[in-house]
């Protein structure tokens, strides 16, 4: 089973996770920029984070044979803090980089005017930089938030196939399917989807434009949920090709629209990565 996790926050994960992911078949991933649990208080904090997603985290992933890409954005939660929103002026400098395959996560958290503004401006940036967009849908008032998300996307002039609307569930999938956007599902313990419900949605809606991610981050989450969903699909009678469509071909097709996917991991520098299971610091 080859796996492309289209949404996972590796910055918060350990080398044990990288090792287990590689063993489970994960060969590529996209790490979208989001909040870190602890709120940021200034633009510099974002800049260091973006550098980390383009530098250190990519380097770390390469040691485990995993191709690391990222999506960059000001996330909706922090769009509400005026000390942070100026990062939108720095963002264009980063959207031209190799390894940046989308603008994201953008979207709504509490549906404030500040979030409206940041969302619209970043959709415009995506258009200008010819990048697809990863949209987060809110935890609270999800249906209304998803509906409003689709309205904003429609007004932006972005084609629906350039947009992935994420964290969907039984109550929000249909409107996104009808809008023609890609549909993302986070299989994440307790708060989002689980494997069984995911398989039921795949049975109902088919595999086209459907993406499954672990969204693993600093919360109680599981970076192997992609594989577990694949296994649940097989148990439910889906074929290997269906699993490959959902866990590999769909994310490759969606993020491939950036023209910047590099599915061979960037060489891990001057060091033979095969010999070490963790980052080299002289322990060999």
């Amino acid at each position: 089973m080859r796996i492309f996790d289209p949404h996972i926050h590796m910055t918060s994960r350990t080398t044990d996770d990288y090792e287990a992911m590689r063993d489970a078949g994960v060969r590529a991933l996209v790490e979208p920029a989001f909040w870190l649990g602890q709120p940021r208080t200034n633009v510099g904090s974002f800049v260091d984070y973006f550098d980390s997603l383009l530098g250190w985290e990519r380097f770390r992933a390469a040691q485990f044979g995993i191709a690391h890409h990222c999506a960059l954005a000001l996330n909706p939660k922090e769009a509400n803090d005026p000390r942070c929103s100026e990062v939108l002026d720095v963002l264009p400098r980063y959207l031209v980089k190799d390894g940046v395959v989308a603008v994201g996560e953008v979207g709504y958290d509490s549906m404030t005017p500040e979030e409206d503004d940041a969302f619209a401006r970043q959709l415009e940036l995506a258009l200008r930089h010819d990048l697809p967009v990863l949209v987060h849908t809110p935890h609270r008032d999800k249906q209304e938030g998803t509906k409003r998300t689709l309205d904003v996307v429609r007004e932006s002039g972005l084609a629906p196939h350039r947009v992935l609307v994420d964290h969907l569930n039984e109550t929000t999938v249909k409107m996104v399917a009808d809008a023609g956007c890609w549909m993302g599902f986070s299989v994440y313990p307790d708060t989002k989807m689980d494997e069984t419900r995911m398989v039921a949605l795949l049975a109902e809606y088919g595999t086209e434009r459907m993406l499954v991610n672990s969204a693993a981050d600093w919360g109680r989450s599981d970076p192997l949920k992609t594989r577990k969903t694949g296994l649940a699909m097989l148990d439910a009678g889906f074929g290997e090709s269906d699993v490959d469509t959902v866990l590999w071909r769909n994310p490759v097709e969606f993020y491939g629209q950036s023209g910047r996917l590099e599915l061979e991991p960037v060489a891990a520098g001057a060091v033979d990565a095969a010999t070490g299971s963790s980052v080299l610091r002289g322990e060999r």
Partner: protein
């Protein structure tokens, strides 16, 4: 309008002509250099007129512009390669062939017929001139491109130009230039040859070569400066065909042709990017990041060239270098560090700050790139020694360190010896590079 990138069918000798044209067009070339040969539009075939018509249709369907080449090896004589030539006694055989080629070129709507002089004595100069004159006078009005060919009577551009002058500068006698030949035998580089040929240039062959060796190589295997060569073609306003000339690579033609086009596109991107940066140094902000996907494997070298162009025109190179590094990805930072060897002397304080930053990082690529010639020249001895030791810690081969042998000193050796002792005490292997360094000193 710019020139048309093409591929020579003599590099597809194991393909049917129709197939070769399709493969070349499918790869993305927009032109072809068609070498007339016994199996590729034989000018001596009874139905050559009909065949020419079919090829013309095919070229049109595929959208390929065409030049006619006449360098087939055994078309006129099955035993002697390239024989007879314009410097042979039986020159009329070659003249007849070239006139047939002109007719085919006219029927195909080709830009020109390209030809060379032949191997022989310099005494054959006048004989050659009369042969060229005969070809010019006979048949349809088609431009001829005289190609200087290493080892032949006309092997350099100045000789081709002299022959033209002596013939009274006929309008239809122009120049074909093989840029690889320029590397092999010309006293100046290919870009300078292109500028010298100027308006007389009617056909260009593209390949790499080493000085003094007439062997057609794939791009990157010789010493041709491809971006500068393409920039020179743009510079003189050349709008004709520039076709890859790799006649000894037919066994792997489709792969070789695909690689060549990738190299040409990367070089073209770089040539355009250098020009853009020289016109407006601020352009480097978007071009420097894009170099990775535009150029691929050669991205470090490409970024060094962009930095060189930038440093030549920027008001404050130090500020620019610092900014590109500060907002750079790992690959961009590596590019800046590599570039310090070329441009760092113009901003030594800023350069040292960047090297120090890279040496604080834990990315092997950055640490390795930081210890280049710039660090040897400008970094403090203490920091440099710690950089070398860090390489040993991180498993970076010491070949990454510029000037290690010259700059090793007693203090460095003491540090490395202590490091080796510590490794042994922990029961861990001592890196071979550390032992080698200590061994050389003892």
């Amino acid at each position: 309008m710019t020139f048309h990138l093409g591929y020579g069918t003599n590099g597809f000798a194991n393909h049917r002509l129709d197939d070769a044209l399709a493969v070349i067009a499918d790869l993305g070339y927009t032109a072809v250099a068609l070498t007339l040969d016994h199996h590729h539009l034989d000018p001596f075939a009874d139905d050559v007129g009909k065949q020419t018509e079919q090829v013309a249709t095919r070229l049109q369907e595929l959208g390929l512009r065409v030049v006619v080449e006449t360098g087939a090896r055994y078309l006129l004589d099955p035993r002697r390669k390239h024989h007879p030539t314009l410097v042979s006694e039986d020159q009329e055989v070659r003249v007849d062939f070239l006139v047939r080629a002109k007719q085919i070129a006219a029927d195909l709507g080709a830009d020109c017929v390209s030809f060379w002089s032949g191997v022989g004595s310099p005494d054959a100069w006048d004989h050659l001139k009369s042969g060229v004159a005969a070809v010019l006078e006979t048949g349809p009005s088609v431009p001829l491109g005289l190609e200087p060919e290493p080892g032949m009577v006309v092997e350099r551009l100045d000789q081709a130009l002299r022959l033209r002058t002596e013939l009274g500068n006929p309008d239809l006698l122009r120049i074909t230039l093989d840029v690889g030949h320029c590397v092999a035998v010309e006293p100046q580089d290919a870009a300078a040859c292109i500028r010298q040929a100027g308006e007389l240039l009617v056909n260009v062959q593209l390949d790499d070569m080493l000085p003094g060796v007439h062997e057609h190589l794939e791009f990157g295997e010789g010493q041709l400066d491809l971006p500068a060569t393409l920039a020179a073609l743009t510079g003189i306003g050349y709008t004709g065909v520039a076709a890859v000339e790799l006649p000894r690579h037919s066994h792997a033609a489709p792969d070789v042709a695909a690689r060549a086009l990738r190299a040409l596109r990367a070089a073209q991107w770089l040539a355009d990017a250098e020009r853009a940066v020289r016109a407006d140094p601020a352009a480097i902000d978007t071009l420097f990041p894009a170099a990775g996907r535009a150029v691929g494997a050669g991205q470090d070298a490409a970024r060094v060239r962009l930095l060189t162009a930038f440093a030549d025109v920027a008001d404050d190179p130090a500020d620019g270098l610092t900014r590109l590094y500060r907002y750079g990805t790992s690959a961009e930072r590596r590019g800046v560090l590599c570039g310090l060897a070329e441009v760092g002397d113009r901003a030594p304080a800023a350069g040292v700050a960047l090297v120090e930053d890279a040496l604080r990082s834990n990315e092997t690529d950055l640490v390795a790139a930081a210890l280049g010639p710039f660090a040897t020249r400008h970094l403090g001895r203490h920091a440099w020694r710690h950089g070398v030791l860090k390489c040993l810690f991180m498993g970076i081969p010491l070949t990454a360190v510029d000037g290690l042998d010259r700059h090793s000193d007693a203090e460095l050796l003491r540090m490395v010896a202590a490091f080796a002792d510590e490794r042994r005490a922990a029961g861990r292997p001592v890196p071979a590079d550390a032992l080698a360094l200590l061994g050389k000193a003892s």
